[in-house]
């Protein structure tokens, strides 16, 4: 079977572009704190969601709705309503991380297909099987801490489908278990759906040297004319012991394009692209490239090479944890 391309859409225009470019599936979220890309100007209101799902279905594509932040105590109703509304909009599945929310969805919307979000960081077969028996999840998005052989071993022990990230931003920490951002800024992926938020970023020109600060901490410094990466905390430049550098991760993005054949052999069902904050033209281009790669694989043709390098905006690429040496 052709591997399923799962593509992000931050806007209705990006959804239509992704579907037209050949994405089998699109994932998106409501325009509030219920999803982990809660950025100004992004995401779907209720009407847009209904129309987006209808458009995708008319073109043979699926829509997954990410409701993958952790509901705030006392305000769970906002998240419950998002699940009910995703079902009403005709979503093919919801992507959830919080056990309480999975419990609600399984009870209140028994017909709704549940995917376990990467934010749940389910990193072994035991916990995946546990989620499957507790809530009936049908697919797990694997955290970015596993090598390809480990993914193969997991697939040999579970019944549910696996989806893995192949392109875009890369979390270095186990997803859904990181509060670096709220430590520095007060806003976190788990609670607010943002990481290293732009509202707390400041660039400061100091005699030809550009300092990038996040929440008062200087975490990048580049000379004039050099590309200034966005100051994401885990990819910042720090000192420890007698060393200064990117101690956690270099400012790289993930590209596992060349690993697609191995991922298929490892039993992976779906390939996920990160980036609901990306433009529709970016999304369309990435989808076309990945679609041609999985179609080539299916037809037994060689994989097209290095198509996506120019889309990474000058950033270095990594295959991340898929290769064991990354650890």
């Amino acid at each position: 079977m052709v591997m399923e391309i799962v593509c992000p859409a931050g806007t209705p225009a990006a959804l239509r572009a992704a579907v037209k470019a050949g994405s089998h599936t699109v994932y998106c979220g409501f325009n509030d704190e219920t999803n982990a890309r809660n950025f100004p100007g992004l995401n779907f209101d209720r009407t847009e969601m209904r129309e987006g799902v209808a458009f995708a279905h008319a073109h043979g594509a699926k829509v997954l709705v990410a409701i993958n932040t952790f509901p705030r105590a006392g305000d769970q109703a906002i998240w419950h309503r998002a699940i009910d509304d995703a079902k009403d909009a005709g979503a093919d599945a919801v992507i959830l991380a919080d056990p309480g929310l999975l419990d609600y969805a399984a009870r209140a919307q028994p017909g709704l297909r549940l995917h376990l979000s990467v934010q749940a960081a389910a990193a072994n077969a035991d916990i995946i099987n546990f989620y499957a028996s507790a809530f009936g999840i049908k697919r797990v998005v694997l955290p970015r801490v596993l090598s390809v052989p480990e993914i193969a071993a997991i697939n040999a022990e579970i019944e549910v489908e696996t989806e893995v990230f192949v392109f875009g931003g890369l979390c270095v920490m186990a997803e859904g278990r990181c509060s670096l951002s709220s430590y520095a800024t007060g806003l976190s992926p788990n609670m607010n759906g943002v990481c290293s938020p732009a509202s707390h970023v400041a660039y400061q020109d100091d005699r030809g040297v550009l300092n990038a600060r996040l929440g008062g901490y200087t975490i990048h410094r580049v000379g004039k004319g050099e590309p200034a990466p966005y100051p994401t905390l885990c990819k910042g430049c720090f000192s420890a012991g007698d060393q200064t550098g990117h101690l956690f991760e270099d400012p790289v993005s993930l590209n596992a394009e060349q690993l697609i054949p191995q991922l298929q052999k490892a039993g992976v069902t779906a390939l996920k692209i990160e980036g609901r904050q990306r433009s529709k033209s970016y999304v369309a281009q990435v989808v076309r490239n990945f679609r041609s790669a999985v179609d080539a694989l299916e037809a037994g043709r060689p994989m097209p090479e290095g198509m996506l390098a120019r889309l990474s905006e000058g950033q270095a690429m990594t295959t991340g944890a898929y290769k064991k040496t990354w650890r």
């Binding site: 990193a123 099987n129 509060s179 720090f238 000192s239």
Partner: protein, 301 residues
């Protein structure tokens, strides 16, 4: 309000590890969580000391639990997690993986690295047998209040991260090994020289974080000294103190005295600074600001 000593987050030599628990048996604390939380490679160095430490603490009247690993990926780690359920000691889960192995109906504790953000998750865990929950350190007081109320109805005791470097992240990658240009599988135990983690500073030389193998901690030591009255009022039943290499007995004692009304607000923070004058303190997660913020800075201004 009771005091729980959480699992030691750091890699200490076996003698130092054992000395901590000998000390704790004598201290005015109510319960102890021990075992390996951060990295399964550390466990063989002190594993054979665990049964004696558990017995000594129980003998001294402390409740004891063994922690699960915070991130379970390898086959060896899955086996370790499964074996926890067989030890005949209470288990504190710090990764939901442990749930898959606990016998149905067995009571368990939930540690600070499990994402209990809301009443739904709390009720779900209570339904599976959770008896105590240490909330994630990231939660603001407003969430703590709601969860403590819900927990009372469920018969679950709520703890809050009281003192110690904050566990901010866990990863598949070992940063200590990376710093030494090694991989995790060939780390040569690069973390053993940093009994409180290795300080990570910004480009402006500001202390910011601490690396501890696959874990990343805050530079600052969380300290709930200024929040204790609010936590009591919210119905929180325990504070969690995280072991540190220097002066930990004094930290435990000063929290006990503070809770018993023998010390005034600010005294615990002063004691922490007497132990290590450079210590930076924080309680910003509880106050709902950035986690690094510190009420004591305003109080003393």
């Amino acid at each position: 309000m009771e005091l729980t000593v959480g699992a030691n987050q750091f890699f200490w030599a076996a003698e130092k590890w054992r000395a901590l628990y000998d000390d704790l048996a004598e201290l005015p604390i109510d319960r102890v969580v021990l075992g390996e939380l951060v990295c399964s490679k550390r466990l063989p160095f002190y594993q054979d000391q665990i049964p004696e430490a558990v017995a000594a603490l129980a003998e001294a009247g402390k409740e004891v639990a063994l922690t699960s690993l915070a991130l379970v990926t390898l086959k060896r780690e899955r086996k370790l997690t499964a074996a926890l359920a067989e030890m005949g000691v209470m288990v504190e889960i710090n990764d939901l993986t442990a749930l898959a192995h606990l016998p149905r109906g067995a009571g368990f504790w939930v540690g600070p690295l499990v994402n209990v953000y809301n009443e739904g998750t709390l009720a779900w865990l209570a339904g599976l047998g959770a008896k105590r929950v240490c909330l994630p350190p990231e939660l603001p007081l407003s969430s703590v209040q709601v969860l403590a109320r819900a927990a009372a109805d469920l018969g679950v005791a709520i703890e809050v991260w009281g003192h110690g470097r904050l566990p901010l992240a866990i990863s598949g990658r070992c940063y200590h090994a990376r710093l030494h240009k090694r991989g995790k599988d060939n780390c040569q135990f690069a973390c053993e020289d940093d009994p409180d983690g290795l300080e990570v500073r910004t480009l402006n030389d500001q202390p910011f974080m601490a690396m501890n193998g696959v874990q990343t901690l805050s530079d600052s030591y969380a300290c709930v000294d200024h929040q204790i009255e609010k936590l009591v009022e919210a119905g929180v039943s325990g504070l969690r103190l995280s072991p540190q290499s220097q002066g930990f007995a004094r930290i435990c004692q000063s929290y006990r005295d503070r809770l018993d009304g023998k010390l005034a607000i600010g005294a615990v923070a002063r004691e922490a600074r007497r132990i290590a004058p450079e210590t930076r303190l924080s309680d910003g997660f509880l106050t709902g600001e950035s986690g690094v913020s510190w009420s004591g800075a305003r109080a003393s201004a």
